[in-house]
């Protein structure tokens, strides 16, 4: 996946907000990239642009060889089915479906036949195999997020985008979710871009991008938590 010179302006005239001011990034297959930055720095805006949920004002995003910013709604929808998995901060599970049905929802929508062995493997690895027939209201926050992650992985998309997947969880559960992300990259070779506020992300991400005021201001590879905290402190000041 390649993004070039993304800008995103909200509103018009003097009150306009430049959420992104020229962000370029390239993610190689199997890589787990973490995006960090102060609140309001444009992280969510970037994720939405990458996922085709929102159109950038200028710039391009290529996913699996297709330039998505100029696609029609119908084409973009079909592309999302095949190539993009999204993990939300608030899980966004359908309350009337069981965990398993929620996981299978992308397949159901696409009308494809689920691969049973893969599903069982996925449910086991995400740790919700014994909860498959429970409804979201009967699951803890961490379990709900595991279901959401399994849902993002089930179609083996080209890229999984996650916006603060741990933002609504306590730090212990959040840690487990981060581990699950890492495991997905390792075991399934899943490409992942993830926004997070946790310094621990440092230990699991292959690469960390720091965003401030709509620009990538720093990049760390194989960083330690201390380094990450350091950068964050300077950015926040």
């Amino acid at each position: 996946m390649v993004a070039r010179e993304l800008t995103r302006r909200y509103g018009e005239g003097p009150t306009a907000v430049e959420a992104l001011r020229g962000v370029s990034l390239e993610v190689t297959p199997g890589e787990l990239v973490a995006i960090m930055g102060p609140s309001g720095s444009g992280k969510s805006t970037l994720m939405h642009s990458l996922a085709g949920l929102d159109r950038p004002t200028t710039g391009t995003v290529d996913i699996a060889g297709t330039e998505i910013t100029s696609l029609s709604d119908a084409k973009l929808t079909l592309l999302r089915r095949k190539h993009i998995g999204f993990v939300f901060q608030f899980f966004n599970l359908l309350p009337m479906l069981t965990a398993e049905e929620n996981v299978l929802l992308p397949e159901t929508i696409a009308g494809t036949r689920p691969d049973r062995a893969w599903l069982d493997d996925l449910l086991t690895r995400t740790g919700i195999a014994d909860r498959r027939s429970h409804r979201p209201s009967e699951l803890s926050g961490g379990q709900q997020q595991r279901v959401a992650i399994a849902r993002a992985l089930v179609t083996r998309p080209t890229i999984v985008l996650a916006d603060e997947p741990t933002g609504n969880l306590d730090s212990k559960t959040g840690g487990e979710i981060l581990d699950l992300m890492r495991a997905s990259a390792d075991d399934f070779g899943q490409t992942i871009v993830m926004v997070t506020h946790e310094a621990r992300a440092a230990s699991i991400a292959d690469r960390i991008l720091f965003l401030a005021d709509g620009l990538i201001v720093k990049q760390l590879t194989e960083a330690t938590s201390a380094e990450v905290l350091d950068v964050m402190a300077t950015l926040q000041s």
């Binding site: 969510s44 939405h48 996922a51 085709g52 949920l53 929102d54 709604d73 119908a74 929808t77 079909l78 999302r80 089915r81 095949k82 999204f86 939300f88 901060q89 608030f90 966004n92 359908l94 309350p95 009337m96 479906l97 049905e101 929802l105 992308p106 159901t108 929508i109 696409a110 009308g111 849902r151 916006d163």
Partner: protein, 853 residues
Amino acid sequence: MIRVALKGLLGRKLRAALTAIAIVLGVAMISGTFVLTDTIKAAFSSVFTQAYKNADAVITGKSAIGNNNNNGNGPGTPSLPGSLLARVQALPQVSLAAGAINDQAQLVGHDGKVISRASPGLAFSHTDVGQHFSPLSLTSGTWPSAPGDVDIDAATATKNGFAVGQEIGVIARGPVERFRIVGTVKFAGVSSLGGATLAIFTLPTAQRLFHKQGRYDEIDVAAKRGVAPAALVSAIRPLLPADGQVRTGQAQAQQATKDTSGFLNIIQDFLLAFGGIALFVGSFVIANTLSITIAQRTRELATLRTLGATRRQVRRSVMLEALVIGTAASVVGLFLGLGLARALNALFVSFGIDLPQTGAVFKGRTIVISLVVGILITMLAALRPALRSTRVPPIAAVREGALLPPSRFARFGLSGGLATIAASVALLLIGLLAGGLSTGIRLLAVGVGALALFGGVAMLAPTLVPPLVGVLGRPSRRLGGAAGGLAQGNAARNPARTASTASALMIGLALVTLVGVLAAGLRSRFEDSVNKVFVADYAITATNNFSPISVASAEAVRRVPGVNVVAGVRAGSARVLGSTTNLTAPEPGASRVISVDWTAGNRQTPERLGARGAFVSKDYADAQHLRVGSSVTIETPSGAVLHQTVIGIANPPKGGSPYGSVAISSATFDAAYPNPQNLYTFIDMQGGVSPANTQALTAALSGFPDAKLQTKAQFTRNQEQGLNSLLNLLYVLLSLSIVVSLFGIVNTLVLTVFERTRELGMLRAVGMSRRQVRRMIRHESVITSLLGAALGIPVGVVLALLVGAAIKYPAFTIPVGTLVVFVVAAIFVGVVAAILPARRAGRLNVLEALQYE
């Protein structure tokens, strides 16, 4: 994907059920109507099949003017000469033939009053030969054999406390006569003949009672073995007099069934119209409920979109939901219709329309139409919400509190609404006032125009909501304190939603207002007419106010001391200038008890009719281009042809007159009608209305239980009874659509409570009591229903103005009292609609509500 949509629907059972109710009621009305009318038709058909089951041929008189009563049993139909029976019996094809009398006679109860007022009293003759053809069978006692004997039907006997051996009064042509009950009978095949009483006499008695000595109303014939009914009919035909006709038994039964089904088809269309209105209102409710549900599911729909659902899939899932709701609702409505058919019948009975019944008839057509209409309306109503659902962008999945983008049509609301209203008024004007169009096209224009008018006002409503809520919410703010103030704010918060909820109620209230205003106008016009026309002291009419009664009652009061003038007005149908018209005939002296204006001629004209004169009403004269001196040919049912000359043109008041389109002298009338009857009799007395006079007249009428003596005020009141009954019937039927809109308010409020769960929790957390929460919801409901009244009542008044203009309606009266009642009714609807939602809101657990997402 289908499963996902269905599961979603299951997850919102209450909401789905509330949505469905709107359709259930409308469909129940449709299916109930069909069941009711089919059942009655089947009953009639069974009655007639039974009545002619053993007759291979049936000979009856033939009405010369060919009105719709073709089966030869209608009033005014000529009877057959007695010699015909002998000639028919002499035919080689005939094995058995019997003559019979079928006429109408009323039975008098122990209280001295006519037993069956709404339904006819039927009278038959009994002969041993004729019994072969009779549908009647004895349940107790014997057949009548002596001149003073009568059999009555078992149901009447039980209900009115008569037993074999007792005496009973019978009114045929003259004053009441007393007979001894020797037996009770029942009519084969049906449980009820629609409340009709039966009286069976010996043949000579029946002939005497109905002034048909030596004559028959009907001759039933059985063929010899091997003779086909058709052959028998051909053999009989040459023997018939000019005013006789013969049919096979089967054809006679079919003809008789057909004659009644015309009337039933009118009832059917009439009731279906109300089902249609209820469904139209239901479509507003469904559209609104679905829109709200979709708005509340924005996040869910957006999530589906991020997971790869196309717009088409989203739209389809909404339509599928509508299909499921529509199907379930239609099926429930279909079966509810079975129960509703009984309720409708009870309703008709209570308004004096009693029709025969058999077991409920549930035809395939009923099922198909009910389901198709119910499902189709639901799907149509879902179209717009479904389209809007596709406009939910995927990004809404991640935005907190994301709102559905406003409808593409929303910004055209004001101008679109005004344009629609203008177009609808134009259509209504064309339909109501334009000349030279066929009735079908005019009705279509009126129907589409009315629908468009409602649609236009509904489109305009969102713009009107904020200012109207500002005004209509004032009492709430004053009475409801903080809760009332919040309620007012909530009602104005989502104008489109409040507007569409109120619009459903608007339709019902507009129609009720239309009916109420028209009725008020009719009533005031009628009263004006009576005040002008009624210059007598007393009037005599039938106890049911509208049947013609025997001339003998007028004769009876003539002998009362102090009577100056007694003048009856005969009425009967006749063919005048080629079409069936209401013919009347005033007795001498009418000019002194009835006053109308004269365009040509003067007050004395009714007295100068003589043998060859006639006077006509101004409207009729204008329509037929008649002048004084024009000649008119009048054909009567018995075959008499009268050639009259117009000697006057009356200009009666618009609210009705005792004279019909054409009037001739009573002497001429009596010569042409075998059984002349008076519609009204007017009396002028020395001393005017006084207790003594009333007593004397009442005493003179004691032999005529079917006659009712009235003063002018009583006459007005009695004559208005019919109008009031019709009015009440219309109100009851229209209330169905108001009930549908009531459920619409319930829906909106329940959904609103769901939506505001967190907010309600917050209000409770900061100290709002349960009672205050309930009050808040109730006031919001009442404000919404008042909005419905504020929209509906003016629309109804405008419709009444248009309709009034169409029927040249000078007396346009706004019945303020009635309209106030409607507003109170609207408030009541609001209060009732709020019960369930307010209870739900009050029960919310504060903690859970605060955590609700």
